[in-house]
Amino acid sequence: MTPNTAVPGLLDQEVVAQWREDFPILRQTIYGKPLAYLDNAATTQKPRSVIETVARFYTEINSNVHRGVYYLSERATELYEEARRTVQRFLNAPSAAEIVFVRGTTEAINLVAHCLGRTRLREGSEILLSQMEHHSNIVPWQLVAEQTGAHLRVIPMNEHGELDLEQYEHLLTERTAIVAVVHVSNSLGTINPVAELVRQAHARGIPVLVDGAQAVAHLRVDVQELDCDFYAFSGHKVYGPTGIGVLYAKRRWLEEFPPYQGGGDMIRQVTFERTLYNEVPYKFEAGTPNIAGAIGLKAALDYVSALGIDTIATHEHALLRYATERLQAIPGLRIIGTARQKAAIISFVLSDIHPHDIGTFLDREGIAIRVGHHCTQPVMDFFGVPATSRASFALYNTPEEVDRLAAALQKVVEFFRV
């Protein structure tokens, strides 16, 4: 089989081989087999440029930001703010002041939920989520609903894992205080029509938060085109370090919101009687931030931009098509999540074989996949399965790895044949 010609859109294998060279971790073998890392929806591997940028920061520049008057601190501050401008350009945000550095998507959502709870939510308010949300876009809203007397409402989905847009329209009411939806589902791969969801919500004056954790590494995100009020993502899912993430928020919200946490850096003047807060976005960055993380994230976004997000997307899409074809050919395999618009994530169940048995078996073949509920228990409930196995692809994955996955799953079937 020559997958290159069989799979239109798949990149020249030499290009991908070169990309793979950028990721030192991919060189290793696991139990004597070359590592096939197919758990990219959990976290992506890091290119050398990110690893070296972080190491160089600690080796040559380390100092605190926004404080020192000396060379190193000024240099660190410069790099940190440069990282903010890189994120701004990456998302096409109107202003760098609308980019808040946080720990990750989870903290970004908690920030928005907390601040909306203090400003907009009241008894009877409705928070509109979708049925395919990650727990991190459910639980923060439950916490704030408990405090304010607001209620959660849920946009249902169909058996393909696509949102029911008709129901969505009916669920938007004068009580709806916020719509919070995932851009790309981590357990189904569905790409939601976010621009359309925003348009309808805005027609009723309702703000929209988009959980972009699974989107930024796989498709072009333009927050002005989407017109969403909030966009959240994590650095580590886009080839950057863990512990750094981004909240994009339209300036008016950042101005309106009270601070999320108190501490250093977010103030202008403090007395025991009262505190004047710093301007946005610093008002939301209390304490010493993850400086090395932010600078590492910049290196990651630069890496993605240099390759071209559209080039990456085309390659991954071809891989998705190829993998879908190969996996569907395995008797007893059922793909969970068959939306028309999908990113490179395949969740599946295989006969009655439990995902954990599949995961252990594949591990010994050097293939890393995720098994479990993927922090989306409502999705598992909807499809009536306790857990799924999930293969998720990144720019460095190859059709040969898909072939190995398919062959290993075939072996799993024989091994556990009931």
């Binding site: 074989i353 439990h354 048995d357 479990g372 598992m380």
Partner: protein, 146 residues
Amino acid sequence: MEELRELYQQIILEHYRNPRNFGELSEATHRAEGNNPLCGDRLTVELRVLGDRIEDIRFRGSGCAISQASASVMTTLVKGVTVEEAEALFERFHRIVLGETEPEALDLLAAFAGVREFPSRVKCATLAWHTLRAALHNVAEVVTTE
């Protein structure tokens, strides 16, 4: 493949495919539930204890091969033994899966020795046994080993 065969021994695969003492127990005197939500392993263990003897036992649930086979093997071992003997089996099972003791030949529990090479699967193997112990001690909360 060798280690996988060690983990998934024939006895384990056989019990997984044909679980013993599976179903509901009428006139159960003790009952407990086990749930490892991260894995999706669920079990209910029901016992009928007369005096200090486990007269009968049933389990039901769903989960991975290790958790289901472990429950099935457990029921065959503790059926008819005293509560004290069941506790001793619990202890021995733990020492075996944690690699603290070498099982004797012909010991059914020996089938689970391979689990020690797979640290993330120990919780699957032990769920049934913890649920059994919870049933014996009338613990109302759902048991988890995650």
